[in-house]
């Protein structure tokens, strides 16, 4: 069987290229050198990401089994550090200033959590061949791993970054489902979570509540929280079948659309390239995700399989939630579109994750 490495590399490269084009088109008109250079920065991040991709893909993924706990601890440490030293931007404390760039530890924490879960559920007892998770009860099967997931989740939620927190939770649920844990336990857990929603509602920040309400009806606050969704829908819709053409998107280039180069990059893209261009982009994402599930499917090793599934699910859910959010079909949560949105942490982490995928694929070939 052919290696998935060139496929993944080419698809990821194409997506980042479209991303840079969109970032350039949405920022070139903004005043100041800071804005003009933003596409150059993204190009650098992509280059760095690709180097990391190549390095990681040449490291055996089994190494991550050994590094799980140090990495998990490092993730938690960085998240705590955000609370102490973090940079406050747009009302949220999500970034660490390291040398000349800002790093977003929550991106890294997502990945470490996935690695942790993959290892946790693929543990084997030394004297048996079967997975120990098959015999897990509700405590060891669900509650214990949930505690490990809940710690970074809680820290991220407090930043506040509801999107990333929810993402970790959804990946946890999906991975639970993929392991051999009995469905009955999962259902019990789900109900428990459902009943704790009213309590969670109280924990949410005011602006998060507002966003959720606005999602239900964006017109309740057209100039405030609903503004972004309305403008994003206008941007996407006005693209029509063929789009307005590159650099000709009025919504993004005249800055009616906020966050047009980060979370709402898809609206920028869809306005300029239309339905056909958007379909092409979605197709690229589909092919990328498909590669991930193919790798997961043909890997015999449980850790590798769960890790591949976890990474692919993480990417897929982020893409789906981000697209749904820009189209007004999901609440606005601060989630970047992997490989498209401007942001070093996201780009590098995504390439890191893709590198692990390729590494899993490579190991399979060795067996």
């Amino acid at each position: 069987m052919r290696s998935a490495k060139p496929n993944i590399f080419i698809i990821a490269f194409l997506i980042t290229l479209l991303g840079i084009l969109s970032i350039y088109s949405s920022t070139f008109q903004k005043e100041g050198r800071l804005w003009e250079d933003i596409y150059k920065k993204q190009t650098l991040w992509v280059a760095l990401g690709m180097i990391i991709f190549i390095i990681i893909s040449n490291i055996s993924y089994r190494r991550f089994w050994d590094w799980t706990y140090p990495m998990y601890a490092a993730g938690l440490f960085l998240l705590l550090l955000v609370f102490i030293l973090g940079v406050v931007r747009l009302g949220a404390q999500r970034w660490l200033k390291i040398a000349w760039f800002n790093f977003q530890p929550s991106e890294f924490a997502k990945l470490t959590t996935v690695i942790f879960l993959a290892r946790y559920f693929s543990k084997k007892s030394p004297n048996e061949i079967t997975l120990s998770s098959r015999r897990f009860g509700i405590f060891r099967g669900i509650l214990l791993p949930f505690v490990f997931v809940a710690i970074p989740m809680f820290l991220i939620m407090e930043q506040p970054d509801l999107g990333s927190a929810a993402m970790i939770f959804f990946v946890f649920l999906a991975l639970l489902y993929l392991t051999e844990i009995r469905l009955k336990y999962i259902n019990i857990f789900l109900f428990a979570v459902l009943f704790s929603f009213p309590i969670l509602w109280r924990v949410l920040k005011e602006y998060q509540k507002q966003r959720l309400l606005v999602f239900l009806n964006p017109n309740i606050d057209p100039l405030g929280a609903g503004y972004t969704v309305i403008q994003s829908r206008i941007a996407i819709g006005s693209g029509g079948l063929f789009g307005k053409g590159w650099m000709a998107g009025t919504q993004s280039q005249l800055h009616f659309l906020p966050e047009s180069h980060t979370d709402f990059i898809f609206a920028t893209f869809a306005e300029q390239w239309g339905f056909l261009g958007s379909l092409a982009l979605l197709l690229l994402y589909f092919l990328l995700i498909r590669q991930g599930f193919i790798i997961a499917g043909r890997t015999q090793d449980t850790f590798g399989k769960l890790l591949a599934c976890g990474i692919t699910l993480m990417l897929n859910l982020q893409i789906l939630v981000n697209l749904a959010m820009t189209m007004g079909a999901a609440p606005v949560v601060g989630l970047p579109l992997p490989l498209m949105s401007y942001g070093g942490s996201s780009v590098v982490t995504t390439f890191f994750a893709l590198g692990i995928l390729v590494s899993i694929d490579r190991e399979r070939a060795v067996f």
């Binding site: 819709g237 006005s238 029509g240 009025t250 958007s278 789906l320 079909a329």
Partner: protein, 571 residues
């Protein structure tokens, strides 16, 4: 791995759902969203053109445009709004509270300029423009406004300007008129609005999310309206209005051969600029005044013709040979028609045609009228242009009315008696005429038998339209008819007992006819209509004083006008 398949399938389904949502947004609702995005970023900045000027026959300006300067304040361009407003207030000389209130009223958004002062004078506007670098938030808006350098002069002829009403809009929408357009109401402004009207031009610009200018997408230069040159003589109009001042009524002076209106005044008048300033008090005063100052009495008022109608009866009788120059009737102050006595205003004894015209003898015309019959009088009145509009190029001209026995039967269900004919013969009863019809009838005897069509507009832009305006009809009257009646009209003035003898003292010869039209229960209407100089007529005049008393008073007004014209060297 059943569970993995379930998971992947549900993810694929979710993705397909997103594609459907995307298709709905972009393809099905694309048009709607594109319109919304266009509205987001495109602003139209209108620029007004100037309405066409109205000029007199020597191209002197009667109505023009002045630039009005409005001060607008764009608060996004300033850091210290109150301080800047204070400075503006100091420069234009109002207190800062007024200007702050105006700003508050006009404020829509910081990216939209709010008007803080209107109609400031040019010097202050220039002063503010000079301070542009210190007051970046101040924008001076130029706005052409109608200006009337002579105030009330010729106001009925000009008409006034106002925002288009619903009735006009439905009528004129096909010609490119829109709501909020300023159009003419009455007079030349309305009749020739199509030419005078300016086209609004403007810039369409692209703005960003804060309303800041990004680039110009298109520019349509505003088109100025076309100037209109009238046949009106400013000097004569001024004399006429001065002479008419204080009376209620109207004066028309027309060139008899072409039909050019030289002067046309109606009193009471109004100042058309109050429709520009739109002060509610003045407007309601005008609309509610019992004297109806907005009515142009020259064309929109129908009055009994009185003795002026005798000229028509005389012409009809001469043409139909019911009488000739030597026919006489005896006036003993009254005559009996049927079983009713009809009175003359004096006892004239033996009267021939010339004397009867000169003395305005009723008895002579009762008898002449009875010889003619009502239908013939009606037919000749129609021939002389009564009972229908003259075709003057001004709106709201009315037809007047000439009765006939048949009409009487059909509409009043009564038989027409000789008494009615007698009444009609002296222009009373149901006879209603407009002053412009009288002028035109009088012109027939001044120009030798042509019924002209009066007109007021000489040229549109540079194009002289006089030739298409002149539509004279030859009435085919006998030369002798015209000669006798001219003689009679001259004797009205020259005869020492003539009703218009007051005009005999003028240094030029005037011919004409007075009338005292009964209008019970009020005072009679005073009429005078004639032409001058007698030998070679260049002007036809009609003076009408509503409830002005005997015709003598109209003669006095005419005398003052002609005197003024002589001393002004205008004849």
């Amino acid at each position: 791995m059943i569970r993995q398949k379930v998971l992947v399938t549900s993810l694929v389904l979710l993705s397909l759902l997103l594609v459907v949502i995307l298709f709905n947004l972009q393809v099905l609702q694309g048009r709607k969203f594109r319109e919304l995005s266009r509205k987001n970023c495109i602003r139209l900045i209108p620029q007004q053109g100037a309405r066409g000027k109205i000029l007199d026959r020597k191209k002197r300006v009667i109505a023009e445009n002045r630039l009005s300067y409005n001060v607008m304040f764009l608060s996004q361009n300033t850091t210290d709004r109150n301080h800047d407003l204070e400075r503006v207030a100091k420069i234009i000389g109002v207190d800062s509270k007024t200007i702050r209130d105006a700003y508050r009223r006009g404020f829509i958004a910081s990216s939209v300029p709010a008007v803080v002062a209107r109609n400031i004078d040019a010097r202050k506007a220039i002063r503010l423009e000079e301070l542009k670098s210190e007051l970046p938030a101040v924008v001076i808006q130029f706005n052409p406004l109608r200006d009337y350098p002579y105030g009330k002069l010729a106001c009925h002829l000009l008409g006034y300007l106002g925002e288009i009403d619903r009735w006009r809009l439905t009528k004129m929408a096909d010609y490119g008129y829109k709501t909020k357009d300023i159009v003419g109401f009455g007079g030349v402004e309305e009749e020739y609005d199509y030419y005078l009207h300016q086209d609004e031009g403007g810039l369409s610009v692209e703005v960003d999310h804060r309303g800041r200018f990004k680039r110009t997408i298109g520019f349509q230069p505003p088109r100025n309206g076309i100037d209109i040159q009238l046949t009106l003589s400013l000097d004569i109009q001024q004399i006429v209005e001065r002479s008419l001042d204080g009376h209620k009524g109207c004066v028309i002076i027309m060139e008899p051969h072409s039909g050019e209106i030289i002067a046309m005044a109606s009193s009471p008048s109004f100042n058309p600029s109050i429709f520009i300033d739109r002060s509610p008090k003045q407007l309601s005063d005008i609309f509610n005044s019992p004297d109806a100052p907005l009515i142009n009495r020259s064309i929109s008022g129908a009055y009994p013709a009185g003795s002026l109608f005798k000229v028509v009866v005389a012409a009809a009788a001469l043409e139909t040979k019911k009488i000739n120059s030597s026919t006489t009737f005896i006036c003993d102050g009254k005559t009996v028609v049927g079983n009713k006595e009809f009175l003359c205003w004096d006892t004239h004894s033996l009267q021939d045609l010339l004397a009867a015209i000169a003395h305005s003898c009723n008895v002579f015309f009762y008898k002449t009228g009875l010889l003619l019959g009502a239908q013939t009088i009606h037919d000749y009145a129609i021939k002389f242009g009564f009972g229908r509009s003259t075709g003057l190029d001004l709106p709201y001209e009315i037809n007047g009315f000439i009765p006939s026995p048949l009409w009487y039967k059909l509409n009043k269900f009564k038989k027409w008696y000789d008494g009615d004919t007698a009444n009609m013969s002296i222009g009373q009863g149901y006879v209603l005429v407009t002053p412009i019809q009288i002028v035109r009838m009088m012109a027939v005897f001044a120009n030798g038998g042509y019924l002209v069509r009066p007109y007021i507009v000489k040229a549109i832009g540079n194009k002289d339209i006089s030739s298409s305006q002149q539509k004279a009809v030859y009435l085919n009257l006998k030369d002798t008819t015209i000669k006798y009646i001219r003689d009679g009209l001259r004797r009205v003035v020259s005869d020492s007992a003539g009703t218009g003898n007051v005009l005999a003292g003028l240094s030029i010869d005037v011919a004409g006819k007075t009338a005292t039209a009964q209008a019970p229960p009020d005072k009679a209407h005073a009429w005078f209509s004639g032409f001058f100089p007698y030998q070679n007529p260049r002007f036809v005049i009609c003076v009408f004083l509503e409830h002005g008393g005997p015709g003598y008073y109209a003669c006095v007004v005419a005398q003052r006008i002609i005197e003024g014209m002589i001393s002004g060297g205008l004849i």
